[in-house]
């Protein structure tokens, strides 16, 4: 059995292909069920976002699995295989597992370290669980990946700082004002970036928007988008007095807001600070304005500088996370390796507790005068003896399962504790594993051992 991921993303496929490859929320269940019923596929999760579509699957054979998943994609999206195959990104086993950890942590995202993808992976996994297309392996792998990503975000705060100009402006505004809820934004000029910045500020709680433009009609047009108040540039002083954040992006060839104007405005504002964001080139606001007390002026270069620093910081954290991912993938394989011994351990425990129970029955027959409380105490203590006796052998066999000579060790284990095949196979744990993996438990670790060799 193998872990496989087949998909395409913003790096491998153009938008024309990506926009055709989208699983809709209302039909994803059908897609999952169809995929699960595809030959060779044992478990499946579909991750579908605007930047990537990926099919995660546990397949019994690599080539067969790949062939049938491609066929499924071709049928589902009604597209010839030859059209999308060149854009597919296919990873298997250790690479596929590592890929999932990178994706869930936002290391493979267009905006490095973004956290939205964590929610999307979680949603994809829960949907797959709902349609019962996950099993032992994906339940463990996805849970581990999601938990790890949550921990990483809390620990490193990789997404804490802005990596786009408009978000950097919002971040700066939040460095001046505790909350943007009661703040007023003035948009000077109707540029695209200033509008985008205003939208971001709006989504962060800003309620009052004013628009000042050379022509009142254009100002009204943009103001209507935010239910704001329009002004002409002649009324700039009045608007500045009422504003807390000013985003300027006109096409003027000289500064339209100078020190003298702002100085006059500030006298009427008491101790209220004023934050200017000048996105225009040439600049709309004279740089001397920043010399005034309580006034903060940032132009496009300043904002780009912040974005660069934040991006470098994210890249530094990303390198750190890559190291942790290697460890996490290793932990997953360690867990996988112990899967082979789970039926043995379960059989040993079953056998031991059967002996304990028989001993208790014999004791009860020989000492009939024991009351319920005394029996309960003895039962508790005999169980404790069994548990303590089993603790070390179980720990040792789990460790040995990760070694190259695991198969031999398991044979010894079976032989020493006289665990015959019948006992192992009659255990419900074995049945579950067999059902899930469609193979013998000890056989299922072969691909993992190969993958682990690649990891180390």
């Amino acid at each position: 059995m193998h872990v496989m991921v087949i998909g395409l993303n913003y790096r491998t496929a153009p938008i024309e292909i990506r926009e055709r490859f989208t699983f809709e929320d209302d039909t994803i269940g059908i897609a999952l069920e169809k995929l699960k019923n595809t030959k060779s596929v044992l478990e499946a999760v579909i991750l579908s976002t605007c930047n990537r579509v990926e099919v995660y699957a546990i397949v019994d054979q690599l080539h067969t699995g790949e062939h049938f998943i491609k066929k499924f994609l071709s049928q589902w999206f009604d597209m010839d295989k030859s059209r999308f195959t060149p854009f597919l990104d296919i990873k298997v086993n250790a690479e596929a597992t590592e890929h999932l950890f990178r994706v869930v942590n936002g290391l493979d995202s267009m905006i490095l370290g973004e956290t939205q993808i964590l929610g999307q992976v979680r949603h994809a996994f829960l949907t797959a669980q709902q349609y019962q297309t996950t099993g032992i392996l994906f339940n463990q792998l996805f849970k581990q990946a999601i938990t790890f990503a949550k921990k990483v975000h809390t620990e490193t705060g990789i997404d804490a700082n802005a990596v786009s100009v408009s978000y950097a402006a919002v971040e700066l505004a939040k460095k001046i004002y505790e909350s943007l809820d009661d703040k007023a934004v003035l948009i000077v000029g109707a540029g695209e970036t200033s509008e985008l910045t205003a939208i971001h500020l709006f989504s962060h709680g800003v309620k009052q928007v004013m628009v000042a433009n050379r022509t009142l009609d254009k100002a009204k047009e943009l103001a209507n988008t935010f239910k704001g108040i329009p002004y002409t540039l002649d009324q700039l002083a009045i608007a500045l007095e009422r504003a807390d954040i000013v985003i300027s992006s006109t096409g003027a060839s000289t500064a339209i807001i100078d020190r003298e104007l702002v100085s006059k405005v500030m006298k009427n504002r008491g101790d209220k600070p004023l934050f200017f964001i000048d996105i225009a080139v040439p600049r709309d606001i004279a740089p001397e304005v920043n010399q005034l007390e309580n006034v903060f002026l940032y132009d496009i270069d300043d904002l780009n500088g912040i974005v660069d620093i934040n991006l470098k910081e994210r890249q530094k954290i990303a390198i750190q996370i890559e190291g942790w991912i290697e460890e996490e993938v290793y932990v997953f394989y360690q867990w996988i390796n112990t899967l082979g011994v789970i039926p043995l351990v379960a059989a040993l425990r079953e056998k031991s507790f059967k002996i304990q129970e028989e001993t208790m029955n014999s004791l009860q027959n020989k000492l009939p005068y024991l009351n319920e409380r005394e029996l309960s105490v003895i039962r508790k203590h005999t169980k404790s003896i069994v548990n303590q006796m089993l603790k070390d052998p179980i720990m040792r066999i789990k460790e040995a399962a990760a070694e190259p000579e695991a198969k031999e060790m398991m044979e010894y284990f079976k032989s020493i504790f006289a665990l015959n095949e019948e006992l192992i196979k009659s255990n419900p744990v074995y049945e579950n594993l067999s059902k899930q993996q469609n193979a013998s438990p000890t056989g299922s670790i072969h691909w993992l051992l190969k993958s682990r060799a690649g990891l180390k």
């Binding site: 705060g157 001046i176 505790e178």
Partner: protein
């Protein structure tokens, strides 16, 4: 007592180290560890204080070395309380640093035993000392916020984008906290001085007013009152308020330390 102080300095220094690692490596695990270390330190600090109180059979806040043990304890306890409302590593780092500084000063001062007279066991005196010290704790943390405001304002003005600015809360929040803490400290200082005056008036027949420490204490009260009025009037920009707040706290420190070396009124031994 000296050995305990030394041990507490070590514990608090450990938390400072954890904070530094946490801040520079940007790992919350270390800042959480730092906070836990403060809680452990605060617990032993309290136990030591209570033990001392039991041994001496009075509340040990009469001599400067006792105050230099009690004052950091109040700062640490307030830091732990503040942590429950908002986690702000730089503030915790600063308050612990101040506490270490105060306790290190204590290490250089000989332990003193006050000549206990019945007048010193008065409840009035106790309330006077506790209220005044509590107001100093609020003013100390307020001064930390002022310092942060000045630094933050400088970084924003000069467009310096670094770890420090990323960790600092907004200017508005710093100003609000500064104001809130002064608002809590001012009535406490007023009551502390009023009760102290009534107590001293009864025993020293109002001669105590010629003491420079007493005069400075009232000057500090007036300065905080002035700061409060200026804030309300909105005529000063917030940076001016922060600078003045810092300067007023400097007056407290001068009053607190220098007066012990230069004047004798508050020395109960």
């Amino acid at each position: 007592m000296r050995e305990f102080t030394f041990l507490l300095i070590i514990v608090y220094s450990l938390s400072i180290i954890f904070y530094l690692i946490g801040l520079f490596k940007n790992r919350k695990r270390y800042t959480q560890l730092a906070y836990k270390t403060i809680v452990i330190g605060g617990f032993f600090h309290t136990i030591t204080f209570l033990f001392e109180m039991r041994t001496k059979q009075y509340i040990p806040i009469l001599t400067i070395d006792q105050i230099l043990f009690f004052y950091p304890l109040l700062i640490i306890l307030l830091t732990i309380i503040i942590h429950h409302y908002f986690q702000f590593e730089l503030l915790e780092f600063s308050t612990v640093s101040i506490s270490i500084g105060l306790m290190m000063t204590r290490m250089n001062i000989a332990e003193m035993e006050p000549a206990i007279q019945s007048i010193f066991l008065s409840r009035f005196l106790f309330i006077h000392v506790v209220f005044t010290l509590l107001s100093y704790v609020f003013f100390a943390i307020s001064a930390i916020f002022s310092g942060m405001y000045i630094v933050h304002n400088y970084l924003l003005k000069n467009k310096v984008w670094n770890l420090m600015i990323q960790k600092l809360p907004s200017l508005e929040k710093l100003d609000k906290n500064m104001y809130l803490l002064n608002l809590m400290g001012l009535p406490l200082l007023f009551l502390g001085l009023l009760i102290g005056s009534i107590w001293a008036g009864a025993f020293f027949h109002w001669n105590f007013f010629v003491d420079i420490k007493v005069i400075l204490s009232f000057v500090v009260l007036v300065m905080y009152g002035f700061l409060f009025i200026q804030k309300k009037r909105g005529k000063w920009v917030k940076k001016q308020l922060a600078v003045f707040n810092l300067f007023t706290f400097l007056m407290i420190l001068i009053n607190f330390f220098l007066s012990y070396h230069l004047w004798s009124f508050h020395q109960w031994f």
